[in-house]
């Protein structure tokens, strides 16, 4: 790649892809305006705390301290955690929903690290063993979307994201500093990096980060407003050539003092979702946001005001494309015999179904491909009408 030309090349590519009038591929795609955001909620989010089954008679006894605090009622059975209140306008507008009692097929171990790999790889192995290629399901799905290019899928953040890793080229974005190198110095460095199989791809992408740095507001997201800023960054990517974006949102592992920790986490997550909506403007109407986590947590509060690793959990759905205002899934109950291994919320829906239905509705990925190539072993079942 000629580095001196890279910026120009990018700008041309960018404007072309953004205009349906000059790119036949985009124009031909009826669904070219649809967007998907996948948030990987790392650490195992406690679904029973975020969307509380206050209508279940067993709930209060399982959560002697954690059930405290009156949040807004979602319906006559579920109540939202008070700290997620900023999302209520979305709920009322039908732009927010949840999927309860859901989990990946991983059942053996309750390990964060195996669980997250399984979540991002999309495997159906009970022990979490990844599929042969050890790639991400979103990467495999991108390879099946007609007209997708290297910038259609983008991961936003400092770290790599297994979800988007694999054979299909994808983009990576994060704000970086300007470089004072001479063009010749940069060329020497580029040549060395391009010759190394490990460095070639990330270096080329790092150069593009530098090329696109100007015109962006702010820097590395940090501190109080960081989730709002992250949401804004993702929205900016999706208003450019990208249609599918993903990022990590960690900090959900709450073995103690959960009441305090959860309030902070949900505040940040609400910030990110609201910033996405604001940043996307009209494009929010054709966007689906999906927040998924590696597993849920114990139905019973533990001895230290927290919860331990569990099984059935919660997925968060948002966006103008969502048929929201409802809690999807089949409620298993909280009685001793209804719990998985007498301790965790019983999963009644494969969490992989939700992205599968979304990929089908938004990007036309076929059911057969979804059940074999994207999510091996998935039984797609009946679409609950996730997308409008």
């Amino acid at each position: 790649m000629d580095l001196l030309l890279s910026r120009r090349a990018f700008l041309i590519g960018c404007s072309a892809a953004a205009s349906p009038l000059v790119t036949p591929v985009t124009f031909a795609q009826a669904k070219g305006e649809n967007r998907l955001v996948v948030i990987v909620l790392r650490g195992a989010m406690d679904g029973l705390d975020v969307v509380r089954p206050t209508g279940d008679l067993g709930f209060a006894a399982l959560r002697p301290t954690l059930a405290a605090g009156q949040g807004p009622a979602l319906n006559d059975f579920f109540t939202l955690h008070p700290a997620a209140e900023p999302l209520m306008p979305l709920w009322r507008a039908g732009e927010l929903g949840f999927a309860h009692a859901t989990a990946t097929p991983y059942r053996q171990g309750r390990s964060h690290f195996v669980g997250q790999d399984a979540l991002e790889n999309g495997t159906d192995a009970l022990d979490g063993t990844p599929t042969q290629a050890h790639d991400g399901w979103l990467n495999r799905a991108l390879g099946l979307i007609p007209g997708a290019h290297a910038e259609t899928g983008v991961s936003v953040g400092q770290q790599r994201l297994l979800l988007l890793e694999g054979a299909t080229p994808t983009d990576h974005w994060f704000p970086v500093d300007e470089s004072p190198l001479s063009p010749q110095g940069l060329q020497l460095i580029a040549a060395l990096n391009e010759a190394d199989p490990l460095f070639a791809a990330p270096f080329a992408q790092a150069q593009r980060l530098a090329d696109t740095a100007d015109g962006m507001t702010g820097g590395v997201p940090r501190g109080k407003g960081q989730y709002r800023q992250l949401g804004t960054y993702v929205a900016q990517r999706l208003l450019g050539p990208s249609r599918i974006a993903s990022f990590s949102f960690g900090g959900w592992d709450m073995h103690k003092d959960q009441a305090r920790a959860m309030a902070g986490q949900l505040g940040g997550l609400s910030d990110a979702i609201v910033a996405l909506k604001e940043g996307l403007g009209a494009a929010w109407g054709t966007t689906l946001v999906l927040g998924i986590t590696e597993f849920g947590r114990t139905a019973r509060e533990n001895g230290t005001g927290g919860t331990d690793h569990g099984t059935g959990g919660l997925a968060i759905l948002a966006g103008g494309a969502l048929r929201g205002g409802q809690v999807f899934g089949k409620w298993p109950g909280l009685g001793e015999s209804a719990l998985f291994e007498s301790r965790d919320l019983m999963p009644t829906t494969d969490v992989r179904s939700y992205p599968a239905w979304a990929l089908q509705a938004l990007f036309g990925v076929s059911g057969a491909d979804l059940e074999t190539r994207v999510f091996p072993g998935l039984d797609l079942d009946r679409d609950p009408g996730l997308v409008l």
Partner: protein, 445 residues
């Protein structure tokens, strides 16, 4: 002590140290000698231990309670802040000047295998003593002893939220309706030892055995009121209650074949290859079990394997190893101020390490920092490496250092012809140094 050769220093240490001529060839014994040799330059960076910190921590806790820790801090709080600032420097400066790089690498490896990370003010003064007092004394000892020291350390107790775990049938459990927290029990089996071969029941039973553990200024103990009465069946063995039983459990788990294999794999993956040779891992695991969990024989197996001396460098330096290697090349400690390329008041390494993806003592999870190349090669991290190379290029290149000589000193015969040409082809000396430091050659080990 004899200086290590380039390949010894690059693969098993932090790279060559400015002003010290490398030794010849490859010699496993020379590396093994580093485990016990004196290292005065490194030792200068020691910070106070736990015993000295406890009264300061108490002073800080009292100040915080009275809400004066910022407005009117006591002498103890001020001293603690001073120590914590030194702690942050030590992580980079100690290996930057060390003569025994292999020992420093091992200290970091074990502190990563058995991770505690700073999360909040309470952990900040505890994490460095964990490294110095629970890890370092045992890197040439038995893993079983290291596991005991780390399990009982107050930093671990706090980090994996063991401090409040209560046996459900203990006095406190019955009275206050409190219960277990299985965090430490799970990560001990999953991350510190076996990795596989145990069940949820083993985790829960182990959590019962560990309930009541406490370690504060009064020392380590099991609190009677919190300990779970009765037998616990863990991995087919029966345990009663109390500290001695916890230590017996640790011994038993340390001697499991799963622990041997997981430990050998971790070591070999760190030093040799992301996918280490199976025969090497198996031989290392056997040495571990044959020697009552002693680690030195395991290191020796690794160092004498043909893969240890191969000139192809399959591993990638972590950001920490990368920054330290470049400091050593420039003869810097990281605490210098007024260097060209950096801000006038210092190198601001705390911020730098964040940008590079490895904030000091803040591993992202109990699993610790990644150990494989791909995890350290996101585009933003590659970009941050280039930024570091630019600033370091200015810092050490504008003082007249010839980038060609520096490349020769840093890599010797390991430098590719392409790298030599690129370094020599830079317009200015500092850019030549930047070309060297940003090259994949320099990031590999």
């Amino acid at each position: 002590m004899d200086a290590p050769s380039l390949i010894e220093d690059i693969r098993f240490g932090f790279g060559p140290l400015a002003g010290r001529a490398p030794g010849p060839g490859y010699d496993a014994d020379r590396l093994m000698a580093q485990l016990t040799a004196p290292d005065a330059p490194a030792d200068q960076w020691a910070t106070p231990g736990l015993a000295e910190r406890w009264p300061l921590i108490e002073a800080y806790t009292a100040d915080r309670k009275a809400k004066v820790h910022k407005t009117n801090p006591s002498a103890g709080t001020l001293r603690l802040a001073e120590i914590e600032a030194q702690d942050l420097q030590v992580w980079l400066s100690r290996p930057a000047v060390a003569l025994c790089g292999f020992r420093e690498r091992l200290a970091n490896l074990w502190a990563n295998r058995i991770t505690v990370a700073i999360q909040g003010a309470a952990l900040r003064p505890l994490v460095p003593p964990f490294r110095d007092e629970a890890i370092r004394p045992h890197i040439t000892g038995r893993l079983a002893d290291m596991l005991k020291a780390t399990l009982w350390h107050p930093a671990m107790q706090l980090f994996l939220t063991q401090v409040q775990s209560v046996g459900p049938n203990s006095r406190q459990g019955k009275k206050r309706n409190k219960g277990l927290n299985e965090n430490l029990a799970r990560e001990f089996l999953e991350l510190h030892t076996m990795g596989r071969g145990y069940t949820q029941t083993d985790v829960t039973e182990l959590a019962k055995l560990l309930a009541g553990m406490k370690h504060d200024a009064e020392g380590p103990r099991v609190e009677d009121a919190r300990q779970e009465p009765g037998e616990k069946l863990i991995l087919g063995q029966t345990y009663q209650t109390g500290a001695a039983e916890i230590d017996r459990l640790v011994e038993d788990v340390a001697h499991r074949p799963e622990t041997a294999e997981a430990t050998a794999f971790y070591l070999a993956r760190h030093f040799i290859a992301d996918e280490p040779p199976a025969d090497l891992v198996a031989t290392m695991a056997r040495a571990y079990l044959d020697h009552d969990t002693a680690l030195t024989p395991v290191y020796r197996v690794m160092l004498t394997h043909p893969a240890a001396r191969a000139s192809e460098r399959a591993k990638l330096r972590s950001p920490h190893e990368y920054v330290v290697a470049s400091l050593r090349l420039g003869g810097l400690t990281g605490t210098e101020a007024g260097l060209r390329g950096f801000r006038k008041d210092g190198m601001k390494l705390e911020d730098r390490m964040k940008k590079l993806g490895q904030p000091i003592y803040e591993a992202p999870s109990p699993e610790g920092w990644p150990e494989t190349a791909a995890e350290w090669l996101s585009p933003p991290m590659v970009s941050a490496r280039l930024d570091w190379a630019i600033d370091m290029g200015r810092a050490i290149g504008t003082n007249g250092a010839d980038p060609r000589e520096l490349a020769d000193f840093a890599l010797g015969d390991l430098a590719s012809p392409m790298l030599r040409r690129a370094v020599a082809g830079a317009e200015q000396k500092w850019e030549g140094v930047t070309v060297l430091l940003s090259s994949p050659d320099f990031s590999r080990r």
